[in-house]
């Protein structure tokens, strides 16, 4: 069967919000100005772990220009209960406690109070007058340290959930779970080659360029109005309502443009605080984080300790695999170790597997999602071990992966049985690439490969489409647009309607104006919101057929609609011609749809990279880098490439440079872009891309979602390349020049 020919899907139109974004007109959260606006400043704990004995705000309140001061004591006494805000059940006390600390501050950067004043400088000065009596407590900042018997406790009341059952001893381990399949010991007994290694990865930040911000107005009618940069306006609404003990309908969230998120702008930090300050002051309050606040006070992705053991027969067949994953949750449970466990061996069809996962609290910021959260850590371990195994077996690393690659029908240890997936196709595309076939010559140079997986999600999305008289349509959706998704969503409607992408005017609406829509995350927007747009457009087509039927006096079923051409017998009309006659045929046409699709299709990706390692300095230079990914169907290929390139470079930063450098006091020593150095364009070559398209049977156009899998392979691919260039196996991230140099010296001894 040949691929269906599309008119809009697969083309590269200019994005709808493009002009606003290249002229500086686009309104981001921090750009908002309102009459009477006050500016907020959040006071943060300077210690890694401290009891808050007393907070005295009187001097700050008396400071000229200050209009309100709040602490956790100002939250309504809603007690504790379990709430589900889209990421599973969480105690409300954790969510509220991370917004403003009460009792104890659990990390350096934990918010303890906030001030609203006539300008931000006054607010900051006044915050300096708040007297907090801290009792500094012993702290712990790594998973392995936190798992020791004598470790300081982050939460005294926490008990380990062990295989689903609550434990009795206090511990920093929130959960220990296991996935098991087959007979692991027998599998290893059958193996002729076994490699077992331990890996460490540092805490890293998403590093979006726009700091978090929120503006709130507690209006005189009791409604709370919020404007902010978020990945999920409904999550902000629901979380804020929960913390403030309001019905969700009393909170309206207007998402403004968002300057990057990568998972980090799903949690709520500022909105409830701004709302409380507004309630006290009677005026709108805007809070914008500093870069230091972003590093210290918002969720990075977990640092981790991982042990992976894989055994294979001489013919290259893997017989067993075992993984031990301990991820740092930060201050509150929820370390994304579940997704680490789901992805650690996801690329391979394995008979015998055991995976142990540990969710470990430490005195660092509560972690958040970061692009395929948990998967990059895990793949660094697995793909490094796979590389060593291939070397021991003396086979090509891609052939070794291909031989064991997961295919349709394969079952993962966590129970999921794959539908149609593109793992094999991605590895084959890597093998057949010009890059992989080309020779790499020269001293201190090496090539590495790795593959990775992210499962992607569906979740709820809503969309309405109204038809304009001039033959264009307005499309209203609820997914905040971080990377051009207005366009990839609009294109799917345009394809159905048979009109140009430019003739769809997409709008990301506030929570009063669109049906519930889950977060922009999990690579879901082009998949699920795109599907909602597809369904809403189908609804429009159905109504337009009725209008044509009325005009022509035929049965609606007799009207055919193909790519914007409507016909019945000898009657013909274009979509545009019918649109011009809406008033005569019954009035406005509005199509609508809500979806909650189940068929999210996982995406595999691969990396081939060539590096040169300077033997004098240990610095790794990337000579050539290719990212390969299964998009299912690339709706807008330029933005698919953009996701692949962006994820690749974040993976490169994670691999080579980025880390939370912690002091002995448990504070972050490098909370600025000067010292937490993300890649600049001078550090990089062009990032080549190969889009593989194995259509997802669970989507009308075959979309899989491309936002995440691309960050998974780069650290392992780089480690494998460094090994070939410098002869050292790097098992700790970041692999910065000092670390590589130390490894080279150690190997020379």
């Amino acid at each position: 069967m040949s691929a269906p020919a599309y008119q809009v899907v697969g083309t590269r139109p200019i994005r709808h919000d493009g002009a606003d974004k290249v002229t500086g007109r686009a309104l981001y959260g921090a750009d908002l100005e309102l009459a009477g606006l006050l500016h907020g400043f959040v006071l943060r704990c300077p210690h890694a772990h401290a009891r808050l004995r007393r907070i005295d705000t009187s001097k700050a309140e008396a400071f000229p220009g200050v209009k309100a001061v709040v602490t956790a004591a100002d939250f309504p006494p809603s007690g504790d209960r379990m709430v589900d805000l889209g990421e599973g059940e969480t105690p409300l006390s954790y969510i509220r406690g991370n917004v403003l600390a009460s009792g104890k501050a659990l990390y350096c950067g934990h918010a303890v109070a906030a001030v609203a004043a006539v300008n931000v400088h006054v607010a900051e000065e006044a915050a300096g007058l708040i007297e907090v009596d801290y009792e500094v407590l012993p702290h712990v900042t790594t998973a392995l340290d936190a798992m020791r018997e004598d470790a300081p406790l982050v939460h005294e009341e926490l008990r380990t959930k062990e295989f689903g059952a609550p434990g009795s001893r206090p511990s920093n381990v929130a959960e220990h779970f296991r996935h098991e399949m087959g007979e692991v010991e027998r599998g290893f007994a059958e193996a002729e080659v076994i490699v077992e290694r331990e890996f460490h990865t540092s805490t890293v930040h998403q590093g979006y360029i726009e700091p978090h911000n929120a503006t709130a107005l507690w209006n005189n009618d009791g409604r709370v109005l919020i404007w902010c940069s978020t990945q999920g306006s409904f999550v902000v609404r629901d979380t804020t309502a929960c913390i403030l003990d309001l019905p969700v309908s009393q909170v309206k969230v207007t998402p403004l443009e968002i300057g990057g998120g990568f998972g980090g702008k799903i949690p709520v930090y500022l909105e409830p605080v701004a709302a409380l300050l507004s309630k006290k002051s009677g005026r709108p309050v805007k809070i914008v984080m500093s870069r230091k606040d972003v590093f210290e006070g918002t969720g990075p992705t977990p640092g981790s300790f991982i042990r992976v053991k894989i055994g294979a027969r001489r013919d290259g067949t893997i017989t067993a695999a075992e993984a031990y994953l301990a991820y740092e949750a930060g201050a509150y449970p929820g370390a994304m170790v579940a997704s680490g466990a789901m992805t650690v061996f996801a690329a391979y069809h394995l008979p015998n597997v055991r995976i142990d996962g540990f969710d470990v609290c430490v005195n660092k910021p509560s972690t958040a999602a970061y692009r395929a959260p948990g998967a990059t850590n895990a793949a660094f371990a697995t793909e490094s071990v796979m590389d060593e195994l291939a070397e021991n077996l003396n086979v090509d690393p891609l052939d070794f992966r291909l031989k064991n690659a997961a295919r349709e029908g394969a079952r993962r240890a966590d129970g999921v049985k794959y539908r149609r997936i593109g793992c094999v196709e991605v590895i084959e595309a890597m093998k057949n690439s010009e890059h992989y076939r080309s020779a790499l010559n020269g001293p201190h140079r090496g090539r590495g490969v790795a593959i990775g997986y992210w499962f992607n999600v569906g979740l709820a999305s809503s969309c309405t489409i109204s038809v304009n008289e001039d033959g264009t349509v307005n499309l209203v959706e609820g997914s905040t647009d971080i990377g051009g998704t207005r366009t990839s969503v609009a294109m799917q409607a345009a394809e159905v309607l048979g009109i140009a992408a430019e003739d769809v005017h997409p709008v990301v609406a506030d929570t009063d104006s669109v049906g519930y829509t889950a977060v922009t995350g999990g690579s879901r927007v082009t998949f699920a919101t795109g599907w909602a747009a597809y369904e809403a457009a189908q609804d429009v087509v159905r109504q337009m057929r009725e209008r044509a039927a009325r005009l022509w006096d035929v049965d609606p079923d007799a009207v055919e609609a193909v790519r914007g051409q409507y016909r019945a017998g000898s009657h013909r009309a274009t979509f545009r011609a019918l649109a011009a006659q809406l008033n005569r045929t019954g009035g406005p046409v509005v199509g609508r749809a809500t979806v909650n699709p189940k068929g999210a299709g996982g995406s595999f990706s691969g990396v081939i990279c060539d590096v040169e390692v300077d033997p004098e300095t240990g610095k790794t230079t990337i000579l050539r880098f290719t990212s390969i990914q299964d998009a299912g169907k690339a709706i807008h290929p330029a933005y698919v490439e953009g996701q692949m390139q962006g994820g690749s470079v974040q993976g490169i930063g994670w691999a080579l440079n980025e880390e939370y450098y912690m002091t002995a006091e448990g504070t972050m020593a490098n909370a600025s872009f000067l010292d937490y150095r993300i890649p600049t364009c001078y550090d990089l070559p062009m990032i080549e891309t190969i889009i593989v398209e194995v259509p997802n049977p669970g989507h009308p156009f075959g979309v899989r979602g491309v936002g995440e899998a691309n960050i998974v392979p780069p650290p392992a691919a780089l480690a494998n390349a460094i090994y070939r260039a410098a002869g050292v196996r790097m098992r700790r991230l970041p692999m910065n020049p000092a670390a590589v140099m130390e490894a080279i010296w150690a190997a020379a001894k």
């Binding site: 590269r12 200019i14 994005r15 919000d17 493009g18 002009a19 974004k21 290249v22 002229t23 500086g24 007109r25 686009a26 309104l27 981001y28 921090a30 750009d31 100005e33 400088h121 998403q206 590093g207 979006y208 360029i209 726009e210 700091p211 443009e257 968002i258 300057g259 990057g260 998120g261 990568f262 914008v288 500093s290 870069r291 971080i482 990377g483 051009g484 807008h636 330029a638 933005y639 490439e641 953009g642 996701q643 390139q645 962006g646 994820g647 690749s648 470079v649 974040q650 600025s672 872009f673 000067l674 993300i678 890649p679 600049t680 364009c681 001078y682 990089l684 062009m686 990032i687």
Partner: protein
């Protein structure tokens, strides 16, 4: 309270006067006093370039310039890059090459790239990467940004020929 400075500047070709506190940065003056919010704050300490403007012919991080220091200066911000309704070739190239995702780094990058192409008509890839190394972008991996600048350089040379 401190007294305010009276600052006279030319911004995007127009004479502009404003009052600012001694501690206010040029970025703050542009955004909060003058409503020119196209320049963005990513770090406020000179390490991201989101606040890039052209000041007397040089690109600067406006968060590292005091408002008071801008007295007498000629400033171009992102709002002054397009000529009326006509986009600058760099702006057009950014759209055509899909060189932005979230777009928050884009104003600074466009201002920096415009200054580059005014200084050098045909910069090499290496030169473009070096010039733009002050401007962080976390979304794109820079590939399409570099291509957009190359395209704009090419188009501007065609026009000048």
């Amino acid at each position: 309270m401190h007294g305010k400075y009276h600052v006279r500047t030319t911004i995007n070709g127009e004479a502009v006067e404003f009052l600012c506190e001694p501690r206010q940065s040029l970025l703050e003056c542009l955004r909060d006093i003058l409503g020119l919010t196209g320049s963005k704050e990513g770090c406020n300490d000179g390490n991201c370039g989101a606040c890039t403007v052209i000041l007397d012919g040089r690109i600067v991080n406006s968060c590292l310039v005091l408002g008071a220091e801008a007295d007498g200066a000629d400033i171009t911000t992102i709002e002054g890059v397009a000529r009326g309704s006509r986009l600058h070739p760099v702006q057009r190239a950014f759209l055509e090459q899909a060189a932005l995702q979230c777009g928050v780094c884009t104003p600074g990058l466009i201002v920096a790239a415009k200054a580059l192409l005014e200084a050098e008509a045909q910069p090499s890839e290496e030169r473009i990467r070096f010039w733009l190394a002050n401007n962080l972008c976390r979304c794109t991996g820079y590939d399409k940004i570099v291509r957009a600048v190359q395209q704009a350089a090419h188009e501007m040379q065609e026009v000048n020929r």
